[in-house]
Symmetry: C2
Subunit: 411 residues, 2 copies
């Protein structure tokens, strides 16, 4: 019997009416004879509301307490969905993260799944029940409740699919799939039928807000195909998978962008081994991840400039962490710019195929858009530009790479 893991996001279960809608969808699949595990996010703004409550009692909530507090949001939605399914005559049972056997490390607030013991879920499925699992949460070996951080429910779904050997993991959300770029910026944006894990990772980590990169990564590691589709419409979604009968490589698949990026430049860093390591170690110590890092070659002397980007929200903490270290090591200054955006073209082979990079840079130049920083990966070329020019830049690149044109049938 086919085993399917489905995930419904917060907007898909924002109120009891939508929960009933989700229940009807799940019930229809169950009646087709599939075994189903469903994982859900918290209803609508629940998580934000709980955070607001915590902030009313303390400015610095303990991560451990916060995790236990936030875990209640997904428990509420999963019990309600189980009740709604039973009301439709579909046997169903809800499970918290710990009841579902999801063991994590103890990094509260952004725990990593260590293993899943699926025995209880299997027993539930074997009884003919739909197993409804609270997303976003797990438990440590010390039986403390943890949460998985941003995108946590996506991670729960893919991890469950891997642990249960499911044939597919369906992520139902408020978008219909993965687009060539943000459809709100470019009306000609086209929904992709399929995309590789690697391309999706680059799209996601560069700001396409469909799915969290961690979940995609987990899918890639375990070879779980992930379908991203709308929870409201019956339209076909985008299949994220590995083995391609895909269309020819060496093509730009999509454009991703992100705003609210700040750039920090440490001027005159002494050009000695370990200087960069020291600077980034102090960021890591403050739980800050530098995003794009560029070190200019030191052609002109014993010092160099080192630039990195962080989210604007983290800029103050980044400066507090890095400034004393920069002073200590004899850097000549720290300067920032907090009105930047990030823009990437993503596609297998874009970097190694001649032509893509210069076409991207020229298109931006023709539109009068200045490039602050450039970084690349195997399948991505990223430019940091003025935040205000992001919408123009997305449209220009979408046209340049003819992304509005329909995909050829994969062969």
């Amino acid at each position: 019997m086919a085993l399917i893991v489905q995930k419904y996001g917060g907007s898909s279960v924002a109120n009891t009416e939508r929960i009933l809608h989700v229940a009807r969808r799940v019930a229809a699949r169950a009646r087709e004879g599939s075994q189903i595990v469903v994982t859900v996010s918290a209803m609508g703004d629940t998580t934000d509301d709980l955070i607001a409550l915590a902030q009313q009692v303390t400015e610095r909530p303990s991560d451990r307490e916060m995790d236990l507090l936030l875990s209640t949001g997904e428990i509420v939605s999963c019990t309600l969905l189980a009740m709604a399914l039973r009301d439709l005559g579909v046997p169903a049972r809800s499970f918290t993260g710990w009841q579902a056997g999801i063991l994590t490390n103890d990094t509260h607030g952004r725990a990593r799944v260590l293993s899943i013991d699926p025995a209880r879920l299997r027993a539930s499925l074997d009884r003919g029940e739909v197993a409804v699992v609270a997303g976003f949460q797990g438990i440590t070996t010390e039986t403390d409740v943890t949460t998985l951080g941003r995108g946590g429910s996506d991670t729960t779904a893919v991890a469950l699919a891997a642990a249960l050997g499911a044939g597919c993991c369906d992520i139902y959300t408020d978008v219909e799939g993965v687009y060539t770029c943000d459809p709100r910026l470019e009306p000609q944006a086209r929904k992709l039928r399929e995309i590789s894990y690697e391309e999706m990772l680059e799209m996601a980590s560069q700001g396409a807000r469909v799915m969290h990169p961690r979940a995609v990564e987990l899918g890639a590691i375990h070879g779980i195909p992930i379908l991203v589709a709308s929870s409201m419409k019956d339209a076909p979604g985008t299949l994220i998978h590995g083995d391609c009968g895909m269309e020819p490589v060496n093509k730009v698949r999509g454009i991703s962008h992100d705003t609210d990026i700040a750039k920090v430049t440490v001027l005159g860093v002494p050009d000695r081994p370990g200087a960069a390591a020291e600077l980034f170690a102090c960021l890591g110590g403050s739980n800050l991840a530098a995003d794009t890092i560029v070190q200019n070659a030191s052609a002109h002397g014993p010092a160099t400039d080192l630039t990195f980007t962080v989210g604007v929200a983290d800029l103050r903490r980044a400066l507090e962490a890095i400034t004393p270290v920069a002073v200590e090591m004899g850097a000549s200054g720290v300067i920032t710019d907090d009105r930047l955006g990030k823009l990437s073209i993503v596609g297998t082979g874009v970097l190694n195929t001649p032509g893509y990079a210069p076409r991207m840079f020229k298109a931006l130049a023709d539109a009068g858009i200045n490039i602050e920083l450039i970084t690349t990966s195997e399948i991505r070329i990223t430019c940091i530009i003025d935040q205000g020019r992001i919408p123009d830049a997305v449209r220009v690149l979408h046209a340049t790479f003819e992304l509005e044109r329909a995909e050829s049938t994969p062969g």
Copy 2:
């Protein structure tokens, strides 16, 4: 080092402002050098709000799902209190029912505590932390979450006090203690300094809404003194305990009352062994507890009348359960009255001491109040009367037994 268990009810933690107030109280006790375990109810109307959500998705929520849903309310309040304590510089840690080691049977919705493994709480206390425990909940051996039903957080508190060998269990609530009668009905009602477990049990089960009888029972079994006091004021409360340096027995301690009582009379029940058992077995099968049961002696033939009371809210279900059985056994009919109230005088020895019963009945008669049913226990005499006359009756009996007079100093 003294170990104290405290419980704060839903109105005491109704919002974050009150949670901060509770945190300051707990912090003050912690700074005096006591080890403290605090258990809390859900914030204000949270439980009702969760029930309403469930009712929006189904008319018949599964008891198991409902328990898991409702358990989130107490988790929210206990994490917030732990955060607030930490913010005051008091080390604190929250625990769900299962984390606190509270094992129950699997009677969802009104589970009984089977045992408590206090190892985790002890470790927390030994680290110098205040342990904040979510009330009202536990876990079965199958790791399903249960709730303890009405008064569940009181039960959690007393059970924890017993398991940890605490010297006292403090129940902080929105009343200042146990009164001689409901102060809203009789302004001269007097707060009792102390009361025995047995008297408190009769007060509670007859409708004094201070504490649930289960918790009092548990206190009696384990010999845990229970202090009932206000969470808002620093006024002395009422100590519920067993060994009395109490004032002379054979005195009415208080008057309790309850409204919304319905009476069911099964007419012409065949006077054979087992008839009553059959009738009440079918009530039990519907999870209904008959409250007061009176069987008239069958002086006049082979049939008798059997009367019992239930809460008005349960009347329809009671009739559905009992009518087919009554018909089956050849009873001649079932009649009901759903506008009754219950009134008791409570005090060690009231039944065995001549004079109390007739004084009670005469006082009610003098006030023109008709008595529908009378039942008694060792320390209680109860009359079922017209619901509309309850306030008069309470005032009349308060005056008759001179309950406004101050207690003599216990010696």
